[in-house]
């Protein structure tokens, strides 16, 4: 704990929560910071950070059985929520970290060139697949028919592209950032459109669209709303802090062992990634983003054809009504 942590009440008003966060990823920063900078503690929560199974169904089971309480994750959970996952998003937490990349000397220059190509993704139903699909739809390409998806674990995607097994890869930071910087991969799609790039916008990449969301288990929302709110508040404060102190955040991530150091994963690069992601718990925009994605995913065929957008949004989103 740091100084600010000691300012909070010594007893934990809301008891403890378990957060599956320790997976070594950079953009899980709000979890680490809320913990390390004492935001959880200040809000009366004793948090326990544990391994992150990454696999949605495992996460879902953890939430449903009360083993996990909160997490920041991608909008890829929408189909899972439609399938009955007992979690809700409570606002976007940062902007894009997802990109579609092609190797240095690839002939692919824009989304239209992707027709008939093979695209590597970390998993079927992963956010990179969804982001790419949205862009493909905007370019008039059917993501289910006109391209081939191939699955590789995240750390091997760049390698697969270099070996020519796939033509493009949908991937996430810091892998995406590293592939760009070290191997000269070119960006075709970037869901981080903070700058309001028109070309990206044409592909359906919203300006300031949230990429990751804060998720809280339904159990908690329904049975202990104040506690859920306290969680929201902790993340809110943590996000603001990160946005203000990307460098310090990077230092904490690397020195406290949340993110493993490598030659590339150093303070400079990590703070750069954090800076571009613009951390901020955006409650209102989060809802509209989610609504947008529901529509897009439905069109792309990842949600059921008969999806009632409004109902799914209600099922997937919780407005904590923070004052």
């Amino acid at each position: 704990g740091s100084n600010s942590a000691n300012k909070g009440t010594s007893t934990y008003k809301y008891g403890s929560i378990t957060v599956p966060a320790k997976d070594g990823s950079v953009c899980n920063a709000p979890n680490y910071i809320a913990y390390e900078k004492g935001f959880f503690k200040q809000n009366g929560i004793k948090a326990k950070l544990v391994a992150n199974p990454r696999d949605i169904s495992d996460l879902e089971a953890g939430f449903a059985s009360g083993k996990y309480d909160a997490q920041n994750g991608d909008f890829q959970y929408l189909p899972a929520i439609q399938n009955g996952a007992q979690i809700k998003a409570a606002g976007g937490i940062h902007q894009g970290c997802i990109k579609l990349l092609v190797p240095k000397n690839s002939k692919i220059n824009n989304v239209k060139d992707l027709r008939g190509k093979t695209i590597g993704i970390p998993a079927q139903g992963s956010t990179p697949q969804y982001v790419t699909s949205i862009a493909l739809q905007h370019a008039g390409i059917d993501p289910k028919k006109d391209v081939t998806w191939k699955v590789y674990s995240t750390d091997l995607l760049a390698k697969a592209a270099q070996k020519g097994e796939v033509d493009a890869i949908g991937t996430v930071d810091p892998y995406a950032y590293q592939a760009q910087k070290q191997n000269g991969f070119k960006t075709i799609i970037d869901n981080n459109n903070a700058s309001g790039n028109a070309k990206q916008a044409a592909m359906g990449m919203k300006k300031q669209g949230s990429c990751c969301y804060l998720y809280i288990s339904n159990k908690l929302i329904n049975n202990d709303t104040p506690k859920a709110k306290a969680i929201v508040k902790s993340y809110q404060e943590a996000a603001e802090w990160i946005n203000k102190h990307p460098e310090q955040t990077a230092k904490i991530e690397l020195s406290k062992g949340y993110v493993s150091k490598t030659k590339f994963i150093n303070v400079k690069n990590v703070s750069e990634i954090l800076r571009t992601e613009r951390f901020h718990l955006n409650l209102k925009k989060g809802k509209s983003d989610l609504s947008y994605y529901i529509q897009q995913l439905k069109e792309a065929g990842y949600l059921k054809k008969n999806t009632n957008n409004k109902q799914l949004l209600k099922q997937a989103y919780w407005n904590p009504k923070m004052n």
Partner: protein, 335 residues
């Protein structure tokens, strides 16, 4: 007692059957097993369902099952051959399956004691299989192909290494310490390396599955070779066998029982690795399908894939058992 005549072979088969199918033919159990399945049908058809599900495919399944039972029972009643032994033996087990079907239907669909999404009824799984039939069929073929290649490769490597280590202690000295350590490296750790080493990800997948197979097979083979009585080797030598002939005529058949144990043990593991390996570069496949279903939290799909895998496994297991029984028929107790 064995004799050359056809007649006697037939009697021998009957005796073998009696050893294997020891539960006596019983009209009572036969009827009961059909009754449980009819009850399963009625219960499902008549009770109100709490969950959204199309029970048509479940009904067809039950009807097919009942029809199958009725046919084998009628055949068993009028004949005295294998069908009678087989169906008589499994009547009780069939009854238990009928009861299980009723119970699972009640606690999921009917009373929702165990709920969606984690617990689904068998009817829902069948519905899912029907919905995804084409994808599942492709996936099954693709996985089966991948598995078969990998399993053969892994078994061959395991057998060859096992034979070498079992027979030549110099080879054992050099290879065993390294192989032992390599053998425990978890697949997850292998994945990056295999990607780099193998030119295509299909080869990498084959490697990962084969890798899970060769270790138990080699391990058992070593033991099998070392367990062969040295009398056989000496007999062979006094009959003028060369080393190659000894390996072919003594070492391999002598180690075969152990090799089979290794193969059976490796089977379960190879299915686990199939799911893991299809995470690199697969476009389709049962493992891919499971991972995909897990990615969108559709457990019904996960279970659908498992049902198919279980079926596949049972078939493969049965085939291997048959092959084993045939190749090891020289053993006293058959298997």
């Amino acid at each position: 007692m064995q004799a050359s005549g056809k007649q006697e072979r037939k009697l021998l088969q009957q005796h073998e059957r009696e050893r294997k199918y020891w539960k006596k033919w019983s009209v009572g159990w036969n009827v009961f097993s059909v009754v449980t399945l009819v009850v399963a049908y009625l219960e499902n058809a008549l009770l109100a369902t709490r969950e959204t599900v199309d029970n048509t495919y479940y009904h067809w399944f039950l009807i097919a099952y009942i029809a199958y039972l009725v046919i084998v029972y009628v055949v068993g009643q009028v004949t005295h051959g294998g069908v009678r032994s087989y169906s008589g033996h499994f009547a009780q087990l069939n009854s238990s399956i009928g009861i299980l079907l009723i119970v699972q239907d009640l606690i999921t669909e009917k009373f929702a004691i165990m709920e969606l999404p984690f617990f689904v009824s068998f009817a829902q799984i069948l519905q899912q299989i029907h919905e995804d039939a084409k994808l599942l069929w492709e996936s099954t073929l693709s996985s089966l192909g991948l598995w078969a290649i990998s399993f053969v490769v892994g078994t061959l490597i395991g057998v060859v290494l096992g034979l070498l280590m079992g027979r030549y202690r110099q080879f054992n000295y050099w290879a065993f310490p390294y192989l032992k350590v390599i053998g425990i490296i978890p697949a997850a750790a292998w994945m990056p390396l295999t990607m780099v080493i193998f030119p295509t990800s299909y080869l990498a997948e084959i490697f990962l599955i084969a890798f899970s197979v060769w270790f138990p097979v080699a391990f058992m083979t070593i033991g099998g070779v070392q367990g062969i009585s040295k009398d056989y080797f000496e007999s062979a030598k006094t009959l003028g066998f060369s080393e190659a002939q000894i390996v072919r005529k003594i070492v391999i058949p002598g180690a075969l029982p152990s090799i089979f144990i290794g193969i059976f043990t490796a089977m379960g593991l190879s299915f686990t690795m199939l799911v893991i390996s299809e995470m690199i570069g697969a476009k389709v496949g049962l493992g891919w399908y499971i991972n995909w279903a897990k990615g969108v939290g559709n457990y019904t799909q996960v279970y659908a894939a498992i049902v198919i895998m279980a079926l596949l496994f049972s078939i493969i297991f049965a085939i291997f058992s048959k092959v084993q029984a045939r190749l090891l028929r020289w053993r006293e107790n058959g298997n």
